[in-house]
Amino acid sequence: MTTVAELPPGFSDKVLSAQSTFRSVMDALARPGTVQRIAASAGAPEGMMHGTAAIALMLFDHDTPIWLDGAISTSDAAKWLKFHTGAPIIDHPAMAGFALIGDPKNLPALDRFALGSSEYPDRSTTLILQVDSLSRGTAYELHGPGIDGSTLLTASIEPHDLFDRLAVNATLFPRGIDVVLVDGSSIVAIPRTTRLVHGKN
């Protein structure tokens, strides 16, 4: 059993590391499909990538119930998250503000997460999904707010049908699921407004 003293550290500089991480995530959401880098130095527990850990340290606190998938909840990550963020870890993804997905092959159906209500579409779960690569793999052509015309995202993403599953965002809008893809220190955001350009990938 790991003691608190043996846990990996949090941000090296709580204030400025959180700020630079936030700007990377904000830029990622404002420009869907572009790869942003998280430069802040932060420890990460086993099972969590550096980018995932930095986003957790930057956004999570006692106000954000989080849900962890099997790959993350079994490791020391849960203890690390509890110690550094104080976020309550819950069993029901439908109640979660954020969900950390370490094993995206077994990503639960999206309707198991919170989709928000028509009155409060912001009360939805943001998925933070660890992927194989954000630099090589399948090319996805994306369009939507934040994108000048269309943009190409080259990524190796599990589940392979992620974008097909995210098509519910078009039907449900303004309800929906926002996704942040993480590969090491690189992140790409796919907010609920982003659509696949059809017939081209």
Partner: protein, 294 residues
Amino acid sequence: MNAPSYNFAYLDEQTKRMIRRAILKAIAIPGYQVPFASREMPMPYGWGTGGVQVTAAILGPDDILKVIDQGSDDTTNAISIRKFFGKTAGVATTTLTMEATVIQTRHRIPEAPLHEGQVLVYQVPIPEPLRFLEPRETETRRMHALAEYGLMHVKLYEDIARFGHIATSYAYPVKVNARYVMDPSPTPKFDNPKMDNCAALQLFGAGREKRIYAIPPYTTVVSLDFEDHPFKPYRFDAPCALCGAENSYLDEIVTDDKGGRMFVCSDTDYCEQRQAEGHRGRESAAPHKERAHV
């Protein structure tokens, strides 16, 4: 050593996390007003407490901050907010639109086109465009949920019935990404076209009303209108008296008690840039400078 000091950019980290989460949701749902737990700020409501909280949550040590109030860099509100962040965050400040990475604005959009990587932060007094038509929050929230915006068109139609044209001249309602009707804050409607397909990220903060909303870059923003009464931006029919600009938004300045007046650019940085480039208007220098060479 025990001198009191503030956290970087004034706000504590828990507050910043809360505001940052609201900003991220706001970007994901363009035009939707995200409720947030607005804090008391060391300035009264109406002085930009919402904008200041948004700026404090995004600002980093490498940012260059510009603050404008009605287009002007040198009014009390603009100067005090610029000094506030100079003091609490130690950030560089500027009056140049091109140079700034974060621009906090009260009721104007700069004339110079904004570029990618810039963030425009609006101070918003009343974020709900339907509030004067329907005072109940429960009702306006449902109207947004159902995209039921007929009432807003009725309001614009009543303008036409009464005045012959749409007389709304500021806080002119827009539809963002073909879904949410949004209040662009009390900017003159002259500025509305600049919001459409803008390269910069636009964030809106309303402190008293506790709402944050956003327009991501390259998002369609359409001013509401009718086929037979299309949206028309308004500006005084005159060139700027100082720089001669024919396409900028103008302030009317009364110069004496005999009906004398001049029109000058509301955007002081734009006007100064043009004068530095050699553009001249009818009154080539500000009145107090002319007196020097009598």
